[in-house]
Symmetry: C2
Subunit: 366 residues, 2 copies
């Protein structure tokens, strides 16, 4: 079967391989951190993403993908002419730069926050006048899990905000007074076949995803269609192949796009147990040009991230239909070291299980 | 987390590791065949099961188990005083010898075929007179997938039958004119907690399992309770820890025990997608003393083995809710190289998917 090369060997790579080994494939990961989570289920080449020898080995794979979007663009661009590489580097280029991303949304008539590019203190002043308070200043590049961003409520916040983004090229966005955070996972195969998972509801704390509810409560046909329409426009524009995650705000019954990730995504982890086909398997089917698997909800489910410390494994596993996923990472504050998905056919039962699980996690999670 | 040592690195070991890696565990396999299926998801020590260095390494694991019952008993017995080893060697000793196994059934009042020990041509003659035709001669040891057994219908069959068992110590059993073949998967944790999967219906051809239907059609409460009662008696007698598979015949509405396997079992593969918790995860939970996972049917499902050649992967994956499992083995006639489980909530839909899958497999399976 196929050898699948992956830039990055974190938990997403690990879960890709756990989905791909049963399909008969083998995995080669490139990652600079020794003993990364994916090394348990494939071969890890421990080197820089741009290392010539590492790229040489990946170029010999049948297909190459990446599992986090901060992979240096030049690594993807060096590989693309030599080996089938999905998602396309263009998706990476745009996702790595918030200004390009928001501009792309705007061009595709995907509703998003107002925004202005900011590359100096003077531009920040002008952008604030344009957009008004409250607003959010974010670095254009390399921000994730709430890092490199600052909310501005008054003119007095400008100095600190400009320091928080380390005076780097940034983007000022209007603050979206959203009712809730949602996301949609979309997938497109090399053959052009597309599929969408039900829209899910996400809960963040300190900029880190803590909880995903699948399907999103009170999900309407209009919301689902709206999210699919946005994702389709993006995938068409990017010539996309693979799983794409689009993070959304719900506002006044409509959808506002926040950002997209050109990869499998934390808010899609529920799909391992909660869908007929996991996002990991569907990403692999897509990049291999195989028929996509069904994306409907198998059961209502809730995913809770394990952040910081390990909870009592015994207490977690004592909860009916709770599914533990540990990534083999050393616990440390604010670090995602695993997740748990609970399922139940009836919503009261699911709520009771989630409450119990949250109680177990409360003892150790920070 | 734990290091889990496994005697054997075939597909059962591979699926154990695919279930155990997400729980944070690592796996060390001992197997004489280089590049065995489980090597993709753990470390393989390629040596004889009784190799001193291999056993030394396994003895340093947190817990040791085995994935096929033809592991030399002395390997298990050498390890048992040094490391937690489950299931207990006593289970292996009895399962490896059809005479001990049938005697054990009889002692536990588990209904089974009539049987007589046979260690010479003369004893065979006497046993045939005792049991009558039709009857089945089987070697006491090392028979599986229909090897080393012969059906006798007339006195004229004695000579060939005695040659078929290579004149080795054997057992003559009355032929059970069963209505269908069933099995039950039971699991008992180190803590004493037990759980049972719904009884499944199995279909064999040429002595090889081809199809498992879960739950068994027309499964009555009485059949389920009967199977659980047999399995409980066995587990109590053996001081059992882990998953145990008990193969049964249905005869006149009652159950006749055929044999048991002290390990995860081919007829339990449906549980990966068809149950709330797979047999592989529950075996690991059991030997680690963790709470057992729910064993109820998540959805009706049918498992088909891939025997011989690889089918069209594309055609298999195009079937809704079909789940492909390849073992990384080189195809050859009569070799199990993978399986496919299909699910559907409604029975007509499931039947349609199975028919479609059987059509896909018919092109390549022998």
């Amino acid at each position: 079967m196929a050898t699948i090369g992956v830039l990055g060997a974190g938990q997403l790579g690990r879960m890709l391989a756990l989905a791909g080994v049963p399909l008969g494939h083998r995995f080669v990961f490139v990652d600079p951190s020794e003993g990364s989570p994916a090394a348990a289920v494939g071969e890890q080449l421990t080197c820089a993403y741009t290392d010539r020898v590492g790229l040489e080995q990946l170029a010999r794979a049948d297909v190459v993908t990446y599992e986090f979007e901060s992979v240096p663009l030049e690594a993807a661009e060096a590989l693309a002419p030599r080996v089938a590489l999905y998602p396309p580097p263009e998706a990476l280029r745009i996702a790595q730069d918030r200004l390009l991303e928001k501009t792309c949304f705007r061009e595709l008539a995907i509703r998003t926050a107002e925004f202005e590019a900011v590359s100096s203190r003077e531009e920040l002043e002008r952008a604030v006048e344009q957009i008004g308070f409250p607003c959010v200043l974010k670095t254009r590049r390399m921000g994730y899990d709430g890092k490199g961003q600052s909310v501005l409520r008054t003119r007095g916040d400008l100095g600190l905000a400009w320091d928080t983004v380390r005076r780097e090229p940034s983007i000022l966005e209007s603050f979206v007074p959203f009712e809730r955070e949602l996301s949609v996972l979309a997938v497109r195969s090399r053959t052009g076949e597309t599929a969408f998972y039900p829209v899910v509801e996400n809960h963040h704390a300190e900029g880190i995803l803590r909880k995903t509810v699948s399907p999103a409560p009170h999900l309407t046909e209009a919301l689902q269609r709206g999210a699919e329409s946005y994702a389709t426009r993006l995938m068409d524009r990017l010539g996309y192949v693979g799983v794409l995650a689009l993070e959304l705000f719900e506002l006044g019954g409509g959808l506002v796009a926040n950002e997209f990730a050109p990869r499998v995504h934390n808010s899609g982890h529920f799909s391992i147990e909660g869908s007929h086909t996991s996002q990991f398997e569907n990403h692999l089917r897509a990049i291999l040009g195989l028929p996509l698997g069904a994306t409907g909800a198998l059961s209502p489910s809730v995913m809770l991230n394990l952040v910081g410390d390990l909870p009592s494994v015994e207490a977690v596993l004592a909860i009916p239909d709770a599914h533990l996923h540990l990534y083999g990472k050393t616990p440390r504050p604010a670090r995602k070291i695993g997740h748990v998905t609970v399922r139940a056919a009836r919503s009261e039962e699911l709520a009771a299980r989630v409450t119990r699980l949250e109680g177990v996690l409360a003892a150790t999670q920070k």
